[in-house]
Amino acid sequence: MSGAWTIYRRELAGLFLSPLAWVLLCIALAFNGFFFVLSVKGFGGDVLQSMSFLLGGSYTFWMLVVLLPPLLTMRMFSEEARTGVLEFLLTAPVSDFAVVLGKLLAATTLLAVLWSSAFLYGLALAALGTPPDWAPLVSGVCGATLVSALFCSVGLAISALCNTPLLAAFFATIANAAILSLPFVDALLALPPGSPLRVALGHANVITQFQASFVVGALDTKHVLFFVVWTGFFSFVATRVLEARRWW
């Protein structure tokens, strides 16, 4: 695990010392801020609804969740493979999983920083005399971080598969959008109620998993487990793909 920690610190430094991360944060925060102020006005100043809107209750949130992770993870393997840095990394005395884990945590941390900006909005509202309910805010940020981790792991797996960062970003975005769209397959196929596929698709509904607990200020082990397990699965896939680079 010390290997993962080393990779994590290296990646995090790399991210925060690259203009790309700051540009992404700048755009995302401006985007988020715009819709937050709009929601405050739209909900007639209702602070609780506005905070829910900011963290998981709006299309803008899901758009950021789909787009940002691929942009952060696209370079993590494909760029390193192109420049030859990956060869050094793979021969370093760290396991493949530690490499994936370190990179995943770094990308997730950057997104967690983005979502944590909600606390600043909360503080501003508190300063204006209408403090939000902090517990749903905390659970919302935690949930948003878990969702980001899931999509970052997808991005990492695809980045490990591709040799071009742009291609990796493109496919990862498609994959993320596909994951979010899984529940609509049910409607497309007009599955009968209670059919195993429909039940399975229901369980794979990322938006519901997120909104049913984190957004409303509840912590549900079912939903936490869902995000942890599937992040783990895609990290495992990324590890196997990375390992395959040795012999393919």
Binding site: V47, L48, L120, A135, D220, L225
Partner: protein
Amino acid sequence: MVVREAAGAGRGGTLAWSRSSLLLQVFGVVGLVFLGAVLVTYLGTLPGLRRRFDLTAVGSNTLDERLAELVEKLPEPVLVEVFFRPFDYPLTRVGAQAQGRMSQLLHVARNQFPEKLKVREHDLADVAKVSVRMKELGLEEDNVVVVTRGKHKVVLRLLRDVARIDPGNPLVESEPTLEAFRGEEALGVALLRVSIEETPRIVFTVGHGERDLFDVEKPLAIGRLHSALVADGLRADRWDSSADPQVPADARVIAIVDPQQPFSSAELEVIERFVEDGGRLLLTTTGNAALFGQAGSPEALAGRLGIGARAGFVAQPIPDGFGGWRMGLEQCGTIVVAGTGLDRRHPVTESLWRADERVGLPNARALVPEGTRPQNSVLVDLLRSTEVSWRDLPQSGGRGDWRFDQRGEETGPFAVAMALAFPPADSRSDAEGERRAARVIVLGASDALSNDILGRNRDFVMNVFNWLAQRDYRLVIRPREVERRVLDLANTNALTLLNVLSFGVLPGLCAVLGVVVAFARRR
């Protein structure tokens, strides 16, 4: 690396085979891990392994303690089906508010008790599918929540049972508002009702010219009442008291609806004994002027219980549309009871009073306490006519003129429905070991149960039978306040601060840091 060395040795076929074999192994392992992930996700949904913690300050993700206890004790899962459609103007906004709160409540309930409550929200846009289901459930309207357990079913109407609306005033452009949301209470009562196993039996007397229990076509028959009772989980059938002098053993309620012929004294004796032993009785006055008040009439039976019926019909003037009142019309004979005319505490009328409902009573007789009542009895006026009503007495031709005659006619208010409860004569107990009190309702208008008016009086009539059958479950849950923290938007400083923070400070800080990083890297 090993593979590449092998390739260097010139064994191309082996290399391809090794790669394919490794690839298959990788796919196999990934597949196994995928199945493992599916399994763990599934295990995480199992009620025994799942935990949910409410982090909100006001517990908005947790059901009220009493409701939670009730759900926990449910013997088997209950299905809650939601049939919501947007309301028409002017109820659009307030209706959406009520729908949203009910959906949220059901969502909380489902998440807290996933093994006990199954919630199905029907998409009313899918007309074909939904109409089939609505037909199966016998629903005639949307914006209802149906709670079902096996054969037991309770229908909750959104703007009656769940939410109370203040209609506002269109003249001063005040929109309807949500006055009270009692979703938890309504859901609790519905769950109580569906969780009771028994289906109480109601017997309607026949053989004296009573209304037909199975005819749903004739306006004055009571076939629709029969259907409504069955749909509500009650059993309703006939009892010919002249042919079979014993009250059926499992009968919980006897209903006597508008007999045209007198009962024999032996029959009345049997019915009276049934009531005295803790039985339940619904009695309507007769529409037969010749029988009214005679020996063997329902009025005579009511008189034995301390309730008298007065001759004539209660009438009320009709608004003429110009701020005045009109008399002398046939419609004056149908009185409408609402608001203060409904007893606001009795289980039969409390929900009607709360929902601001009306009860229509054609040809209603005035009822009065009269004679000796059973010991320790409680008599309540369920329905009372207004102060402008009067008791219209028959003229020489036998019919009233629907005009108030100061000389011989009294003015209201008059009781037109009364409920009587008293402890049974002996100390016999029911199945639960509780002493069951006798309950009697005397209704001054038999037409109130008829096919052509049941739609209007359905809630009242169902409350009557549910009270008599001892299914008047009451659960008091204080309506939950919606937590609102509202920023004063009139305060322009507040919005400016938010704007500056959202568009200026945070993105600006990131932009500056980005530029600094870019310069630092370049140098």
